[in-house]
């Protein structure tokens, strides 16, 4: 298979592994050679390469943005090392966008905390007596059973 010159059909199959650098040196060289000599495949290669690059960049961008958000989120919870904290604080001094993002996290936290607090502030469940009662009854039951069934 793939002896001699590669056909345009071979190239369609190999173009993505070629872009991802998943081919052996020998195959890679042969694909490159075909591309140099075939404007049709070259054009195809350019289009696919641009598309894949932009997808990859979007992924990287998103991942980077999330990493930053994750760090800010931990910072708001006071769950970062003092070294990281210092670094974040000096970035905050330089970037309005970061400050905005931090403020948003904090307003979410405030809304949640206040809501939780108000919601249950006056809730009286009074379960403690029931639970203790049940535990005592169970203990008595076990003692009786132990006594009769050694």
């Amino acid at each position: 298979m793939l002896k001699g010159n590669l056909t345009c059909e071979d190239i369609s199959r190999l173009i993505i592994p070629y872009i991802d650098d998943k081919l052996t040196t020998n195959k890679r060289n042969r694909v490159a050679m075909h591309l140099r000599n075939c404007p049709f495949c070259m054009e195809k290669y350019r289009i696919i390469k641009t598309l894949l690059d932009s997808i990859k960049n979007k992924h990287l961008e998103r991942a980077k943005k999330f990493r930053q958000y994750r760090l800010l989120s931990a910072y708001c919870d006071n769950e970062v090392s003092s070294h990281t904290k210092e670094k974040i604080e000096s970035s905050l001094a330089l970037s309005c966008e970061l400050v905005q993002r931090t403020l948003k996290i904090n307003s979410l936290r405030k809304a949640l905390n206040q809501t939780f607090e108000n919601k249950f502030a006056n809730l009286e469940l009074g379960l403690e007596k029931k639970v203790i009662e049940r535990l005592k009854n169970e203990n008595i039951f076990y003692k009786i059973r132990k006594f009769f069934l050694p």
Binding site: D77, E79, A111, L112, N118, V131, K136
Partner: protein, 192 residues
């Protein structure tokens, strides 16, 4: 109460309870019940089951307190019990639902916790926000939901959450961040 336990901190109460002091145990239950109830509420426990479930969890705490090795890990331990009990019940119920009923239009029981904000206008606004928050939390995927509840409702540290959910701190960090991103999106109309 024979003597006043109200001023004892949780660690002290736990070590008393582990020595068999029933009054200390009762005080622990008294302090934790609201937490348990609120956690179940935001985990989306069914209204007609939430009280039973709360009681069951508190009973497990009372019964097993002697098995807790380090009182410092009480919060993680409690949350482990909450989560296990909650998802166990859910799983069992899903099984029985599949078996029993296809067309059971069971009556939905209305369930509202009365709120006590003093100003009536503020009360309406709070109520809207509360509903939106509750619905948004219910929409979160399970691991995000549990993590954000433990963090924001109960104030657990990342380490405590990691211990309760059997995961590492990095995962907890990510889950909380993801939960926050989602909540920010869902609650955009309510939070500036």
């Amino acid at each position: 109460m024979k003597y006043n336990l109200k001023n004892n901190n949780l660690d002290e109460l736990i070590s008393l309870a582990q020595k068999g002091d029933m009054e200390a145990l009762e005080e622990i239950i008294r302090r934790q019940q609201k937490n348990v109830f609120a956690t179940l509420y935001y985990l989306d426990a069914k209204p007609d089951e939430i009280m039973d479930l709360t009681q069951e969890i508190l009973f497990k705490v009372a019964k097993n307190i002697k098995k807790l090795k380090n009182p410092r890990t009480f919060k993680s331990w409690l949350n482990q019990i909450i989560i296990n009990q909650f998802y166990d019940t859910l799983r069992k119920k899903q099984k029985t639902i599949k078996k029993v009923c296809l067309d059971n239009d069971e009556e939905k029981i209305k369930f509202e916790i009365p709120d006590f904000a003093s100003n009536p206008y503020q009360r309406i606004i709070d109520k809207e926000l509360e509903k939106a928050i509750k619905n948004s939390i219910h929409k979160l995927p399970d691991p995000f939901k549990a993590a954000i509840i433990m963090r924001e409702l109960q104030g657990l540290s990342y380490e405590e959450i990691a211990r309760a959910t059997n995961s590492n701190i990095g995962t907890v960090k990510s889950r909380i961040a993801r939960a926050r991103l989602k909540l920010q999106e869902y609650l955009k109309p309510y939070i500036s």
